[in-house]
């Protein structure tokens, strides 16, 4: 039979109350084994306090060709950044 184990994406929360962050991927037959393998492969040197695993096929991703339509509109909207507005020094910290 020999079917290939599915691919999982691994997310680890570091020590400091950060978000889970993508660290890599691995193969495992199911979620339980994926977490065990992720522990062995990605946290051998105290890299984390929590692990998420997600089957790679379940991740939906934006397409590289959509980069323009998706992200360019925000380029012109500089007023979304606080530095767009100049506040007189006399007003103090804002």
């Amino acid at each position: 039979m020999s079917s290939e184990w599915p691919l999982w994406e691994v997310f680890i929360r570091g020590q400091h109350g950060l978000n889970h962050r993508h660290v890599g991927s691995l193969h495992a037959p199911d979620a339980e084994m994926a977490i065990k393998n992720a522990r062995d492969v990605y946290t051998r040197r105290n890299e984390g306090v929590s692990i998420w695993v997600v089957k790679s096929v379940d991740i939906a991703a934006s397409s590289p060709s959509d980069k323009g339509p998706l992200f360019e509109p925000s380029n012109s909207k500089v007023y979304r950044h606080p530095t767009f507005f100049s506040i007189p020094d006399e007003v103090g910290h804002m």
Binding site: M1, G24, S25, P29, D30, D40, R44, R45, A61
Partner: protein, 332 residues
Amino acid sequence: MYAQLVKSEGKKSAEEMSPEERAFQDRVDRGEKIEPKEWMPEGYRKTLIRQIGQHAHSEIVGQLPEGNWITRAPTLERKAILLAKVQDEAGHGLYLYCAAETLGISRDQLLDKLHDGSMKYSSIFNYPTLTWADIGAVGWLVDGAAIMNQVPLQKTSFGPYSRAMIRICKEESFHQRQGYDIMMKMAQGTPEQKAMAQDALNRFWSPALMMFGPSDKESVHSAQSMAWKIKIDTNDELRQKFVDQTVPQAEYLGLSIPDPNLKWNEEKKGYDFSEPDWTEFFEVIAGNGPCNRERLGARVKAWEDGAWFRDALVAHAEKDAARRAAARVAAE
């Protein structure tokens, strides 16, 4: 090095490139990272699969000569350290297989190619580890040579490969230091122990120099790979750097480099040294090194003997998923 003699294509001039190829080359030149789903020349994809695959295979096969000594390490501490190192190598193989997989080939396909001999692994792992001092020499010289190659590859243009290299480099310096630590202990030990350390250096020096591959100054494959930033330095540059770095380390140990032509060259601010025996190198690559059959045999046996286990875990996962689905239906 960990990837030797990787075939690429002849380098294209700007006029020969299609508009897409030119835009791609511009991105690489600007130092942008290329991600898996983005457009890339077919040659770039194929060369990377060969290179990353060969690198991954080297990590996995590289576990064998060291695994040989886990049960015979001289102390419990040395044994625990060696276990951790060999476990790291498995992890490095995994990072690299995953990076290769983003290019549209599966890990099992890559392993098939290793097992049927159509993909290679580094020539260095076809040499035997005869004594405990060899474990020191492997860490010091083989991992040292690997670091030489891997540090610049952190800047490679392909995102997943670059990220794998960054992780690997973080872990790799532990490997070299543990090897040097073994060599120090032996070199400062009894005369017999020091002789073992010298013997290990004698046997591993030349194979370590071969890890960088033959001179590729004039190679068109290399020129293309360098333009694509999947190769950063020439083989000769890396070999020179390795020799310059290693000679003082050997001097500290009180061991001598087995090369009568080794001499400091003030003009080039580096050592002159003898070329390794390239006939031997090509023999080893062709499958005729001292341990080729044993190494590949061990990999194939592990893969075949483990098939029932991999299948059993899949069967268990499928049954479990079906059970959960049935329980959900029953609850509704």
